[in-house]
Amino acid sequence: MRSSTVGWLFLAPTLVILFIFGVLPFLYVLVIGFTQWNSFAADPTMQYNGVENFRRLVFDEQFLYSLWLTLKFGFFAVTSQILLGYFLAQLFMRDFPGKGFFRTIHTLPLVIAPIAVGATWRLMLVPGLGPIPYYLRQWFGYDLNISRYVDQAFLATVVMDVWHWTPLVTLTMLAALASLPKEPFEQAQIDGANRFQIFWHVTLPLLKPAILATVFIRLMDALRTVDEVWMLTGGGPGAATRYIGLHIWRVVFPKTDYGYGSSMSLITLYLTIVMCWLLYAGLVARRDLKRVD
């Protein structure tokens, strides 16, 4: 092996960039989080105020509501994606004409910019233009208006996310299914297990690492979602779809409440890390991520 100095030199540019644009902002937000700083306030300078921001946060109903919404969104979106994705992957395991073609179509949403996905669904759902509200009214007399009804707006963001990301789950599950060993299935059949028993006692345990890895990646991304939702509902109506990213943006920019927004960011980051860690611990306990391939 060559000298390790050269190795570190090769790594240096990467580490420097990640430090300046990743770590430094984090340290900065860590400092601002403990200050009172609002550039529109009577005193627009940065003032240290200890844990006051965090004390306020615990009782901030808007913030807690936004957190709760984000988790609800993540839960519904990821659960539907896993179920639907698994179902589609099972069907893709069969042999049928045009398989490659259909697969390409189902990969399509993955490369589309989230902001364009938001635009697409806005055009589908906006009353007076979109076909979905029109036909729901025409055929079922159902009034769909995502800029008026809270539950409909929430559901619309979930449906959009499912449309956008289910293909990823499908392809992940497909890769995992294709790499499963054949013997346990044959053995189970010989033992006279029925289809449900095979699924529950053979397929599911074997797929667990892949499923957990997918949930991990999807959930982290779902909790970060901003672009699509911003484009579709703008966080509304009211605060019905103001997920945590949108909420932080609102506090930080239009309201310029830098100190408070930073402490909010810190709590969000902390919760993300805890969730990440819990899921990752779950993953490692069931062997390593790489087992999937």
């Binding site: 390790s4 910019a113 076909p131 991520l289």
Partner: protein, 278 residues
């Protein structure tokens, strides 16, 4: 593999594909119609192609600037990220460095953190701290190019790691025995063998940079705005010019659709940081 009830399968996949395609097709329909044609009940047929939405968009100097910015930012970022990731993964793969697995894992945390958390500190850094005389990183392409490394580099490193690890070490050793320098080994041995992997990584990086919105919207104001921010402006500024918004969105989609064919096989590995391969 069983081949059963092909018609039922065909029917199912057709419906499923339609669900995937109809929203995009509808956007195309809206982009190809005038305000008057869009009035009334939705019509999925395009009887006469209304080109004005596209012409207006393409002629708009602001949009042209956004387009150029997006192309420059995405291309420069892809090039920078692939180069740096090649160096980094080469070091991680071939050198015995204390704590390198920790470094490797640490990089990904940069990709996992919610971007909203970094909006404010980056905004402040870009407007007030990273300033050199009259030059600020705020509202510059270089600012975006460097920033996008934060989430693209970890992705590229994680994807390329297995590619570089897959190149036999004996090849390096043989080259060293023949008197090659480290740089020669990297450029003459590793680079040619890693080319397919580098290409895929580069393309996906390009797409991610092209698709990014949140930072581009926050850290630019006039000069360095990208296509995605231009698209978002339709919601806040122009209101309800749906036709033109659809046309802009269609133009935003084009590059992604073009590369889909190239990277389709690798997209899963790409989006799961190499955790899942097809």
């Amino acid at each position: 593999m069983r081949r059963d009830r092909p018609l039922a399968f065909l029917a199912f996949w057709t419906v499923s594909s339609l669900i995937t395609l109809v929203p995009i097709y509808w956007m195309f329909v809206v982009s190809a119609k005038s305000r008057v044609q869009l009035f009334g009940s939705p019509n999925f047929l395009i009887t006469s192609f209304f080109t004005e939405n596209y012409i207006n968009t393409l002629k708009d100097p602001a949009f042209q600037r956004y387009m150029i910015n997006s192309i420059v930012v995405a291309s420069a970022n892809a090039l920078l990220v692939t180069t740096l990731a090649l160096f980094a993964t080469y070091a991680l793969s071939r050198y015995r460095l204390g704590g390198k697995e920790n470094v490797f894992f640490w990089t990904i945390t940069n990709r996992m953190a919610p971007p909203a958390v970094f909006l404010l500190p980056l905004f402040l850094l870009y407007t007030q701290v990273f300033v050199l005389g009259d030059f600020k990183l705020f509202d510059t392409r270089i600012g975006l190019i460097l920033l996008y490394c934060v989430f693209n580099l970890p992705f590229a490193i994680w994807t390329l790691r297995s590619v570089i690890d897959g190149i036999p070490k004996e090849l390096d050793e043989a080259a060293y025995v023949d008197g090659a320098t480290t740089w020669q080994v990297l450029t003459k041995v590793i680079l040619p063998l890693a080319k397919p992997g580098l290409a895929v990584t580069g393309i996906l990086t390009w797409v991610f940079a092209w698709n990014e919105y949140l930072f581009a919207a926050t850290l630019t104001s006039v000069h360095a705005r990208t296509v995605t921010t231009g698209l978002a402006e339709f919601v806040t500024v122009t209101g309800t010019n749906w036709g033109q918004m659809a046309a802009t969105a269609m133009l935003t989609l084009v590059p992604a659709l073009l590369v889909l064919g190239l990277v389709q096989r690798h997209i899963v590995a790409g989006l799961t940081f190499g955790a899942v391969k097809e």
